[in-house]
């Protein structure tokens, strides 16, 4: 979509090349953006990546499938659980293995908690990008509680390696579900705080509504996924539309894909309405989709806990470290908090994959940034980059 807008330059100014990053407070890690600016107006943004490249995929070709799980943690380090899940499911698809009922619900609980934790960072850091510090700490306060829960199940707070091929490394400790229940109960009212601080804040709306417009066509063309795609009004979520091995995980769950349909979001009657300034596909909508997905995830965790309690038997048996993989090639995408995270695996029959590959969701989401930032102001650049919610660890791997 190209809408030609004419701006009259008041004074002849020379274009200036400015390096935003790799050491910049609001490029979410080591992203480097080269801005071509004319005064405050940005005429071109060139993202440069690779500052966090750690050869994760190559390492994956020298380790067994289960040994590579800790490396997936370090890709999207804000949602390590979901990364683990993606890889585990890909290997399970190759092995044609189905986790038992109890393990399936355990995975839903953990994956959705991971989604909440990740969206909390996305939301808080977005506040930081727009110059307000407090929501960040409010978000981290709640994220801490989720991390405490994670710590109890797996002993780690960032790099969990908990969900693994074949199920999970351990069952929930006794009393954990009650703690999780208590957390969710106190978390629900906190969401209103976030809405008061950000979503409905007049300045926040001014800064995000109508900024960084990403049309549905463009989002699809660039391969954007996750909240970025759904924020543009595309009704697509792998939990519903993905491959059977992944969608079967969510079978029997009652949830709706968060996406604007006929001017309304599911569940939006309890939450602030869309402001009139906001246009579908702008930063505000991407942010709002994440906020509603958090609510969605709470519902899913609650359902999963009930189902987990009702089920019995094994939660899944982790695969042996050196177990041989069947010959073949698989590729599986899962809905991680930032979009579709794909893992590909080619096996020649040994325990070590011949090829291990990851499809980054943030990489595709980041690729629209030069398109979105054309003609915006410098202050909009962090607002747009922040709304894409990228994690450099996943892009560079």
């Amino acid at each position: 979509m190209t809408t030609a807008q004419t701006i009259e330059i008041d004074v002849r100014t020379d274009e200036m090349l400015v390096n935003m990053g790799p050491q910049h407070p609001s490029t979410h890690g080591v992203l480097r953006l080269v801005l071509r600016t004319d005064g405050e107006v940005v005429s071109e943004v060139m993202p440069h990546i690779g500052y966090l490249h750690r050869c994760a995929e190559k390492i994956g070709e020298n380790l067994t499938a289960r040994q590579w799980v800790p490396y997936t943690d370090r890709m999207d380090y804000l949602a390590g659980m979901n990364m683990n899940l993606g890889w585990a499911l890909a290997v399970e698809k190759l092995m044609d293995y189905q986790v038992p009922e109890r393990g399936r619900h355990l995975r839903v609980i953990i994956a959705e908690l991971g989604r909440i934790a990740s969206h909390l960072v996305g939301m808080g850091a977005y506040g930081l990008d727009l110059g307000t510090f407090s929501p960040f700490l409010y978000a981290f306060r709640e994220r801490e509680k989720i991390l405490d829960l994670f710590e109890e199940v797996c002993g780690a707070r960032l790099t969990y390696s908990y969900l693994t091929v074949g199920g999970a490394t351990a069952d929930f400790p006794p009393g954990w579900l009650e703690k999780c229940e208590a957390f969710l109960d106190q978390f629900v009212p906190v969401i209103d705080e976030y809405h008061a601080l950000l979503t409905t804040n007049a300045i926040f709306i001014k800064r995000t509504a109508g900024v960084g417009l990403l049309s549905a066509e463009m989002a699809i063309d660039y391969g954007c996924t996750g909240p970025v795609l759904r924020g543009s009004g595309v009704d697509y979520d792998l939990r519903r539309d993905g491959e059977p091995i992944y969608t079967s995980m969510y079978e029997g769950y009652d949830y709706e894909v968060i996406c604007q349909r006929a001017g309304h979001y599911p569940k939006d009657q309890e939450y602030p309405p869309v402001p009139i300034e906001a246009v579908l596909g702008d930063c505000w909508h991407r942010f709002y989709v994440r906020m509603l997905e958090v609510v969605q995830a709470i519902g899913l965790v609650r359902q999963a806990m009930a189902k987990y309690r009702a089920s019995d038997g094994s939660f899944g048996e982790p695969m042996k470290l050196n177990q041989k993989l069947p010959k073949g090639e698989v590729y599986l995408e899962t809905e991680s908090p930032r979009g579709q995270m794909g893992f590909g695996l080619v096996s020649n029959g040994t325990a070590i994959p011949w090829r291990a590959r990851a499809r980054s969701s943030c990489f595709c989401n980041l690729s629209v940034v030069s398109e979105l930032c054309r003609g915006c102001l410098i202050a909009d650049v962090p607002a747009i980059v922040g709304s894409l919610d990228i994690v450099m660890g996943e892009i560079d791997r």
Binding site: Q5, I7, E8, D10, V11, R374, G375
Partner: protein, 195 residues
């Protein structure tokens, strides 16, 4: 040595010294900075001469407004990081000689007029504050509250008020505002911006 002389010396040395620095500096932003200091010291001289209102005005309009505009202009038109435009030494020498001659003429004139020599009985003692803001305001409205002792009736009756110049200046400022905005507009091809 009394305090007025002392402060006068301080302010005048600053004003004069930084004015010379403006001439000698070749970096335009430094020139602007020296000019700021020079004009601020001049404002100090105004305060010292009992012109509070004009002094504050000098600080506000000149230093705070005009010179910020000037620096803004410098930055907008800077091609390289620190603009330097040197003058040839011959030109500088000629200018300095002529300037020196001008200075000599001006100073000798000032010194040779007896009426301008320091007076022993000033109109107001230097320790007494003079109220200037209200009389200036009244004068701009056409009332000369400071002219009540004026023997000339025409002057006393407010004929020496400044209402007319005040209005002319206001209109002038408006015209300048519009004119400047018009002049600074670019006649440059319009830039297409796409989204």
């Amino acid at each position: 040595m009394n305090w007025t002389s002392c402060l006068f010396l301080l302010c005048s040395l600053m004003a004069g010294g930084f004015a010379v620095a403006v001439v000698l500096s070749s970096n335009i932003v430094r020139m602007a900075f020296y000019l700021v200091l020079s004009l601020a010291a001049t404002a100090g001289l105004f305060f010292l001469a009992g012109a509070d209102f004009v002094g504050a005005m000098q600080l506000m309009i000149y230093v705070g407004g005009t010179l910020v505009l000037l620096v803004f202009g410098v930055m907008l038109t800077a091609q390289s990081q620190f603009v330097q435009m040197r003058t040839s030494s011959g030109e500088l020498l000629t200018a300095l000689i002529l300037g020196g001659a001008l200075l000599v003429v001006l100073v000798s004139t000032a010194i040779n007029v007896p009426a301008w020599q320091p007076t022993s009985n000033p109109a107001v003692d230097s320790a007494t504050p003079v109220i200037t803001a209200t009389p200036i305001g009244m004068a701009l409205e056409g009332y000369r509250v400071d002219q009540l002792t004026q023997p000339d009736t025409a002057l006393r009756r407010g004929m020496s008020g400044y209402l007319f110049p005040f209005i002319i200046v206001s209109v002038h400022l408006l015209v300048v505002l519009i004119g400047a905005a018009y002049l600074a507009r670019a006649k440059r091809p319009v830039v297409e911006r796409m989204r």
